[in-house]
Amino acid sequence: MDKQKAPLSAEEKLEAAFQRLLSPKDPAGNDLQFQSAEAKANYQASITRIKDAIQLREPDRVPVTVLPSMFPYLNAGMTVEEAMYDYEKCTTAFKKFVLEYRPDMHIGASAPGPGKFYELLDYKLYSWPGHGVAPEHCYQCNEAEYMKADEYDLLISDPSFYFRNFYLPRIGGAFEGFKMLAPFTSILEMYGLAFNFVPFALPPVQASFQKLFEAGAEALRWVMAMGASDGALTAMGFPNIIGGFTKAPFDVIGDTLRGTKGIMLDIYRRPDKLIAALEHLTPIMIAMGVSAAQQTGNPLIFIPLHKGADGFLSDEQFKKFYWPTLKQVMLGLIENGCIPFPALEGHWESRLDVIQDVPRATTAWMVDQSDMVKVKQTLGQNACLIGNVSSSMLKLGTPQDVRDYAKMLIDTAGKGGGFIMSNGAFFDEAKPENVKAMVEFTREYGVYK
């Protein structure tokens, strides 16, 4: 038997991903040069710690991370607008943030995103500083029915065509010309081929492509800045293991396609079509996470969870509409060597019995405001937990409040491993001394004996 030809199992793929993380490469593909032997040791110790926590073993100590939204930039004295438009300022502030708090893993400087790029797209889905939001505030989503109630069949029959010709022109002015494009699946044979290309001769289509060329160039500038920032931080011993993101199919439809109101009505008015659409989006969401992990080489796939939180749906509705396709997305990611990293935003206590049904030691969950002791007793028996120092405590509490809470977390959620200390929700503002207290207390008290 030729063993090398056997396809890798999910465990082997994940192990390979961790091995790649442990010996990072530079952009040229050579072994990355660490700044010092100490930086290399710190980097590898952090990765090992995180890996142990995710695989539900006791690491040497509780790993600690800080998962901010705009905090690194506001704390550096700049506005969100500056962080979005000046990539140099943005990455400098993020580096300062990492060096100050020294987390075991970080999420890169990509949270502000490239302001100029959004401008070039004439992006309408979000408002951002200078475009509907004040300079010092974070961007925010403009929820609306970007997908009409009678468009489910279009979405289901050809999601890419639907996105290109209907959804994108509604969320960005630069996509206007896409409305005129023929389906790519019509490009089949020599005979008739040319008909498909007539739209490319039309001024609105050409104008759209022109705008996308410019937007693409800006996106590349930003990605280069982010890559350089991550590379520099890796060389200093600080890993970013986020591979990308995907979403629960229910949130794909509920957040930006139909909107909250739309999807809630669809549960009553067209439940079968909603379920069919959720099922069609499932492999697409798996592929989104897997391909991001392949591009970045990092296994952790972030999944922000929204409309399954307590209070949105009944238990029955949650089990019927939200959970089945989310679970399939996670299983698909795991099968491909990724680690699903869902964030339980808000409260999820009523869902714990359902969501604990995940393969053991394969997922890591960011916990916002749910009772961490209850989460540990349920989901935490099967999965690594990350969190849950609250935004409110980080902004309004004292360092002693934070230490007391962190102690409780280490004593309960940290017991036996499977826990990463962190804030519970992406935050903009906090007292730096509170963030420091969370990190430093964990480094001292969180050592496993």
């Binding site: 408002s127 509907g132 939001v133 004040a134 010092e136 505030h137 974070c138 925010q140 403009n142 929820e143 909250t260 109101k261 809630m264 009505l265 549960i267 009553y268 008015r269 209070g311 949105f312 749906l313 009944s314 509705q317 935003e345 808000g346 409260h347 405001q369 609250s390 935004s391 409110s392 405590m393 902004k395 309004l396 509490g397 929700a425 935050f427 903009d428 503002e429 906090a430």
Partner: protein, 209 residues
Amino acid sequence: MSQQLIDAIADMREDEALALVEELAGSGAPPLAILNDVKTAMDIIGQRYEESVYFLPELVLAGEMLNQIMEVLKPSLAETAAEKSLGKVLIGTVKGDIHDIGKDIVGFMLKVSGFEVRDLGVDVPAPKFVEAVREFQPQVVGLSGFLTLAFDEMKATVAAIEKAGLRDQVKIMIGGGQIDDAVREYTGADAYGKDAMAAVKLAKSWVGG
């Protein structure tokens, strides 16, 4: 009274409810009687929401049914005197924050619970709240916000109401993703609520409902 209509609305049978309203209105039933049935059904829905039998899908659908029924009844209701309300509540999302879903649900639940609600929308600066308190004269003000930056804006709004000499006239409640009692204390609000029913309970407790 049409028990059939009440049940159809309360049990979320939208098509049947609308057909019944059309039928009743067409057969000359007094619009106020139909409206009373609708109100009874909305009370049942509120009750079921409070008991965690109903959740967002039912509230949203109830809101849609209500709007459609009002469209049917509006022409014949024009001269009817406004119904006596439990009290007035002013709501809005504070400046810098454009989240509206939580606020809209709170507004809807307050309305179906019998309050007169004025909704200032999102990204509402403190002076606009002050002006509306003066003019609308609510007993309760509800401030919504989901960002940590909203904590300061809520505090500023409470302070502005205080500075205008209007603080004694209103009770202020706050709500939103990251709001807890520490935030309530920081902002100087009277109470915070975790969901729409909490907002209704607070408002009722303050206006003696």
